[in-house]
Amino acid sequence: MKKDFTYDVIVIGGGHAGCEAAYISALLKAKTLLLTINLDTIGETPCNPAFGGAGKSQIIREIDALGGIMPRIVDRSAIQVRMLNTKGGAAVHSLRMQIDREKYRYEMKVTLEKIPNLYVKQGKVKNLLFNNNELSGVICNTGSTYYGKKIIIAAGTFLGGKVILGETEYNAGRYGEPGSYSLSDNLKEIGFNTFKLKTGTPSRIAGNSIDFSGLEKQEHENIDQNFSIWEKNTVKNGRDCYVVRTDDKVHEIIRQNIEFSPLFKGIIEGKGPRYCPSIEDKVVRFFDKDSHKIFLEPEGNNTDEWYMQGFSSSLPEKIQNTMLKTIKGLENCHIFKPGYAVEYYSIDSTQLYNTLESKNIKNLYFAGQVNGTSGYEEAGAQGIIAGINAALSLKNKEKFTLSRNESYIGTLIDDLILKGTQKEPYRMFTSRMDNRMIARQDNAYYRLSEKAYLAGCITEEQFDIIKKKTLKIKEVNNYIAVNKVKNKTFLDMLKTQNTSLEDFPDIIKKFELTFDEIITIESDVKYAGYIEKHNKFLEMNKEWTEKKIPEFIDYFKIPNLTIEARQKFKEINPVTIGEAGRISGISSSDITALILYIRKIVKW
C-alpha cells in the first residue's frame, strides 16, 4: 500500500517546468509523481499561444538536444511557423511557432500519461514533509501524503497568487484557477526568501467580432522547420496573425482612466517585467509614442478566441472594452476574457545551486516561474535541468550542469543563481549571451547531445544520428578547406560577405546537406574570428574561473574586501571564483582580494 504513495521524485506543478522535469526524470528511470492542481490544465499556455522567437527558439532546441518533451509538443500543435531575424546571420535567426492551445495541452497530457515510471495525479500540496530534518515528501490538502526522495517545486504563478483586474482583486493562481497559499507560507517558514512579482495578460476576443479586412497580415511561412529533430511534423493550412495599432484615442482613454489602474494606484506591489509592459504602462512611460503595435493571434483551430499580444492590461473590463472598440478592425469586438494582472510569490533564486537544488534544503529543487523567470521556454529549461539532476542524484551520479558559453540554458541558470530576479521577472534574450555566435539554434545538438547521452537523457540511436551529422559536417569542412574554385578554396570564398554555401549546390548535393547543416557549416566559417577570440578569452581566464571556493570560507575575515562584496558573497555563496566574479556589483579588485585570501588559507 505504502508503495503506491512512495516515489523517487515528486514534481509539484504541471506547467512547462513541471512537465519537462517529470518527463525527463521518468525517462531517467526514476519513479516520478507529477502533482497538479488540475489534470486538465497540464501544459497550459496561459499567456500568448506561441513558442520560440529571439532568445527562446535557442532554448527550445537545447531542450530538444537534451531529450526534452516541449519541442515535440510544440511541433505537433503548431499552426503557424515563422523564422524571425533572417536579415541577420544564424546567430540571431529565431524560429517561432504559434500553437493551438487546446492541442498543446492535449498532446502534453496524453504523452505524459503514457510515459513509463511517470505517475500523474491531481492534488494540491499543502506543505512539505520532513523526517528527522530531512525532506521526505509532501502533504496534500486532501490529507494524502506522498513520500519522495527528491522534490521539484514548479508552482508557476500559483504561490500566493492574486488576480487583479481594475479595483477587483482575489486569490487565484490564474484567471479561474485556485492558487496555492499554504505551500507558499510553508516555504517562507522553512527559510526561503520570497518576494512579489507581477505579470499580466491581455484580453481574448472573439474572432467573429473582428473585421479582418484591411488589417495587416502576418503570414505563415512555408518553411521546413521543426523544433525537434527527433520526429517530423508539418503544419498543414497554416494560420495567419494580424496587426492592429493603437492611436491617440486609446491613449486618451488610458490617460483619463489611469486612476482606475491597479498598477498606478499601488494595488500591485510586485515588480513587472519591462519587456512585457501593460498597455497603460506603455502609454504612461512612453508618452511621446503616438501608436503601439498589437498582434492578433489565433488561439487554436477549434476555438474562436484571439489573443492580443501587446495589449496586456489590468484596467477594469469596461475600460478595456471602450479602448478596444476605438481600434480599427475591433469596432464591434466581443471580449471573451478580459486582460488581468497576476501577482505571485517567487523564491530568491540565488538560494539555489546551478543544479537548481536548494542550498539550504537538500533534495529540494525549484524550477520555472517560481524562480522568478517568465516564459514557457525558460520554465522548460529549468524543468529539464532540475529533473535530470534530481534523477541522477538518486544514483549518486555526477551533477548535470551547462555553462554560459555552451548554452542559453547555462546562461539562464547562471544568471538566476548569481543575479536573482528581484528586479523583474527574468526573460531570455539573445543579448544576454556572452557570445551568441557560438550558441545558436542550428547547432544545439553539436553542443549538448554528448552530455545528454552520457547522462542517459537521449538513447544511443539518438546520439548516433548526431554523431553522423557531426562527422558529415567535419567532412564538409575538410572538403571546403582543400577544394578550390578559381584558385580560391571554398572556405575562402565562404569567408566573403555575400557568399553562401547555397551558391555551391554541388557540395550540398554531394554531402546531402540539410538546411540546418548548411547554416551550421556556413556560420562557423563566417563567425570564426569572433568564436576564436571568445574561446581565447575563456582560455585565458580559465585558470581562475574554475577554481573552487572552500565551503568553510568566512567572507567577513577577508581583508581588503568591500563590505558590499562580503555581504553579496555571503548571501549568494558562489561555488567558484568565476561565479563570484559574475555577481553584479563585484569588482575585479574584490576578486583579487578573494583569491589572495583563499591562497593563504588553502593549497589550491
Binding site: C47, G53, A54, G55, L84, N85, K87, G88, G89, A91, V92, S94, P202, Q218, P273, R274, Y275, C276, P277, K282, R285, F286, K289, S291, H292, K293, F295, Q309, G310, S312, K419, F429, T430, S431, R432, D434, N435, R436, M437, Q497, Y530, F537, M540, N541, E543, W544, P559, N560, G581, R582, S584, S587, S588, I591, T592, A593, I595, L596, R599, K600
Partner: protein, 452 residues
C-alpha cells in the same frame, strides 16, 4: 570579467624615466622572462641573482651593452621570474630594448602591473601597493595639474560618456534583434556610419593629447644659434650658471652639440649649444655645422645670439633666414662693447639686449624665455586635459581600430557590429576599470517601448 592576472603573460616595461638619466632599467616579469632575455643577448645566462654584462642583439646588430640580472620566482619584486636589464639611458635605447622584448613575446605591462602582481603574489599588501603607486606618480607642475584633473574624473567622465554613446547604439541594435516584430526602426548604414564616425573622431582627438604629455615628458628643446664667437657658449653658461661649455675667443670651439636639461615653469627644458654656423673647409667642423642646423630645425625655441657690437653679417643673415619660421628670441650680445646693431633693426621679433660679460640685460632675457616656455605654445590641441598613460593610448587605439573596422564593413549583418561594439565598450570600460554586461538590457528598456 577579466582578472588580468594571468600568470601566463610575461610583461615588460621601461622602469626608469626616459629623460635625464644616463642609465635606464627595463624589466620583465612572468614565466618566460628568462627565455625572452636569452633570446636577445649574445651569450645565454641562467644563474639567478648574478650580474652579467651582455650585448643586446636585434637582427644580428648590437643595440646596446647592458647589465642583465635574472631573479628567480619567488625571490623577486613581483614574486614571479623576473629580469632586469640595466641599459644606457635615453628614450631611443630604452625604447628599442623594450620593443625588442615585445617582439620576443613579452606584453606591455599595464599601469602598476608589476606592483599589482607583487600584491597578488602576496609580496606586499594593498597599502604598500598604494604607497608605491603614489611614489612613482610624483611629477612636475604641469603634469601634476593635469593629474589632479584626471583624479577628479575629467578623463574618466569623457570615457564614460563615450561608452554611454556606444551603449546607445548597442541597445538600438539589440532591441532590433531581440524584438524583431516590435516598433524598433531598422538600423540604417547611414545611422551607424554617422554615429560611429563621430565617436571615432572624438577618440582620435583624445588619443592625440598624448603628444602633449610626451612633449612634457621629453621636455622643451631650446637651441642656441649664432655665428661663431657670438657668445653661444657664454649664453649657455649663463643659463646653467656653471661653466660646462668651454668658452674661448677662438671661433669654432664648440664643434658639436652640447645639451643640458633645466627645469623652467614646471617643464623640462633641454638647452642645446650648437656649433657656430658658417662656411668652413674644416671637415670636422662642417659635420658639426650640419648637426647644428638639424638641431635648430628640431628645436622648439631658438635663442639666436648676435654680436651687436659689429654689423649684421652675412653669416648672421644666413642663420636668421634659416630659422625664419621658428619660435625664437633674438639676443643682441656684447652691448658693453658699444651698440652697432639696434633693436629696431629687427622690427617685430622677440628681442633683448644683453651683455653676457657684465650680466647687463640678462634678467630681461630670462623673462622673455620664461614667457616662451609655456606648454600652450607647443601643442596644437585645444585641450582641457591630456592623457598621460600609454595604457590609455593603447586602449583608445584598440577602440579606434574596432570602430574603423565597423566603418569599413558597415553593411555586415548587425550581430557583427553589435559584437564589435561590445568589445569597444569593454575596452573603454577597462580604461576606467569598470566592465558591465547588464547595462545593455537596461539601456534597451529605458529607450524603447517593447514587448507583448
Amino acid at each position: 570579467m577579466s582578472f588580468n592576472i594571468n600568470s601566463n603573460r610575461t610583461i615588460a616595461a621601461i622602469a626608469t624615466s626616459v629623460v635625464g638619466s644616463t642609465i635606464g632599467v627595463v624589466r620583465l616579469s612572468g614565466k618566460n622572462s628568462l627565455s625572452i632575455l636569452n633570446s636577445i643577448i649574445q651569450k645565454k645566462i641562467n644563474k639567478p641573482r648574478y650580474v652579467y654584462l651582455r650585448n643586446i642583439i636585434d637582427n644580428n646588430e648590437i643595440i646596446d651593452n647592458a647589465i642583465v640580472i635574472y631573479f628567480k620566482s619567488p625571490w623577486s619584486y613581483t614574486g614571479e621570474d623576473m629580469v632586469e636589464i640595466q641599459c644606457h639611458g635615453g628614450y631611443v635605447t630604452m625604447r628599442r630594448i623594450y620593443s625588442l622584448l615585445l617582439k620576443m613575446g613579452a606584453e606591455p605591462a599595464q599601469k602598476g602591473e608589476f606592483t599589482k602582481r607583487s600584491f597578488l603574489n602576496g609580496k606586499i599588501d594593498l597599502t604598500q601597493a598604494e604607497a608605491v603607486n603614489s611614489l612613482i606618480n610624483s611629477s612636475n607642475t604641469v603634469l601634476a595639474d593635469n593629474s589632479i584633473k584626471m583624479m577628479n574624473g575629467i578623463f574618466s567622465d569623457r570615457i564614460k560618456d563615450l561608452r554611454e554613446k556606444i551603449l546607445e547604439i548597442i541597445a538600438f541594435i539589440e532591441a532590433y534583434i531581440d524584438f524583431p516584430e516590435d516598433d524598433v526602426d531598422e538600423i540604417s548604414p547611414e545611422y551607424l556610419n554617422s554615429n560611429i564616425q563621430r565617436l571615432y573622431n572624438e577618440l582620435i582627438v583624445i588619443k592625440n593629447t598624448y603628444s602633449i604629455y610626451k612633449k612634457l615628458k621629453e621636455g622643451i628643446k631650446v637651441a642656441i644659434a649664432g655665428r661663431p664667437n657670438a657668445g653661444k657658449s657664454s649664453l649657455l653658461n649663463a643659463c646653467l650658471k656653471e661653466e660646462k661649455a668651454i668658452v674661448t675667443h677662438i671661433p669654432g670651439t664648440t664643434r658639436d652639440v652640447l645639451e643640458h636639461t633645466l627645469y623652467i615653469n614646471g617643464m623640462n627644458v633641454t638647452i642645446y649649444d650648437t656649433a657656430g654656423i658658417r662656411s668652413t673647409e674644416d671637415t670636422v667642423e662642417s659635420i658639426g655645422i650640419m648637426r647644428a642646423e638639424k638641431t635648430l630645425m628640431d628645436s622648439d625655441i631658438i635663442l639666436h645670439i648676435i654680436d651687436a657690437s659689429v654689423e649684421f653679417t652675412s653669416e648672421d643673415k644666413y642663420i636668421y633666414d634659416k630659422i625664419k619660421n621658428k619660435r625664437k628670441i633674438i639676443i643682441l650680445n656684447k652691448i658693453d662693447l658699444g651698440k652697432c646693431l639696434e633693436k629696431s633693426f629687427f622690427n617685430k621679433d622677440n628681442i633683448v639686449e644683453v651683455s653676457l660679460k657684465t650680466g647687463e640685460g640678462f634678467d630681461n632675457f630670462e623673462c622673455l624665455l620664461q614667457n616662451e616656455i609655456n606648454i600652450e605654445n607647443f601643442v596644437d590641441n585645444d585641450f582641457d586635459f591630456f592623457i598621460d598613460n600609454e595604457r590609455y593610448v593603447n586602449s583608445i587605439h584598440k577602440v579606434v581600430l574596432i570602430l574603423q573596422k565597423i566603418l569599413d564593413e558597415i553593411n555586415k549583418p548587425l550581430e557583427y557590429t553589435a559584437e564589435d561594439l561590445k568589445d569597444a565598450k569593454d575596452e573603454l570600460g577597462s580604461i576606467i576599470g569598470e566592465i558591465y554586461h547588464d547595462d545593455i538590457l537596461d539601456k534597451i528598456f529605458s529607450t524603447f517601448c517593447l514587448g507583448k
